[in-house]
Symmetry: C2
Subunit: 129 residues, 2 copies
DNA sequence: AATTAAACGCAACAAAGTTGCATTTAAGAA
DNA sequence: TTCTTAAATGCAACTTTGTTGCGTTTAATT
């Protein structure tokens, strides 16, 4: 694996994502980070954190990209598959990892799975009241 | 429901999507259509066809948006839920609807589902050879 | 044929993401 | 500690993707 360095910006952005109860977009991260580093740097840090498997990328049906921390045990698996469901509320727009909801499905023969992206959109319990 | 008209451009684009074995992006559609109409018009037609439920939108883990024809029986349901899996090959980049693969999952109480987007990426049978 | 709102083209804009390159800096070696 | 070097950053420029406003065209109904 290629060498990776622990920089201030990387640590700060990881903290933001780890402490958030909901998935964050690039724009939200930039704002939360008080513009402490360049937009481009954030893109690159997000790519690195994703490659290191400490955060994962979520793409909603509307096309917006968000990031959330991984909650699997460290180094438990070489390359974790994020097969849990992400819920995207159409009202509050928040995206949450439903870590306990893991869909079961069976692909036809000879398909090799590397990554899954399960996103469900609708209305979350808070907005349903 | 709002009035919708059958224009030449709309019919042409629907044909392209219907006759394609794989899901198509906006850019691919524009090229296949020989630039016969404006980019903006294509965006609007895709929105209309999606609203009419004759095509559906697929967002891949890499963030690219594609469209595929719906294969459910016409008017079978008021608002069809596209709960089948889409496979995105990392080698050939093609996105295919696996109509027969419908994951089962159970959300916690009080979540209302309106739409799902299940995308699996990896290596397709053709590229695995 | 007349009417009318849907659809269109075009220009301008906005958001999201990428690339190249000079400069800075984390981290291991001396 | 200092030296070394490739990783990481900032900045500018650019591309790709999608949106909006508005005047004109056109499908569909009367
Ligand atoms: Mn995870
Ligand atoms: Mn369908
Ligand atoms: Zn909500
Ligand atoms: Zn393939």
């Amino acid at each position: 694996m290629k060498n990776t360095r622990n920089t201030i910006a990387k640590a700060a952005i990881f903290e933001l994502i780890k402490n958030s109860k909901v998935a964050l977009s690039h724009a939200e991260i930039q704002e939360l980070n008080q513009e402490a580093c360049d937009r481009v740097t954030i893109y690159r840090i997000l790519d690195r954190l994703t490659a290191e498997d400490v955060i994962h990328k979520i793409v909603t049906p509307s096309g917006t990209v968000k990031y959330a921390a991984c909650h699997h045990a460290d180094h438990e698996e070489q390359h974790h598959v994020h097969n849990h469901v992400h819920f995207n509320c159409e009202v509050c727009q928040l995206v949450t990892c439903l870590e306990n909801v893991e869909p079961t499905f069976k692909l036809p023969a000879n398909y090799k799975v590397n990554q899954v992206n399960f996103t469900v959109s609708g209305i979350c319990p808070s907005c349903a009241l």
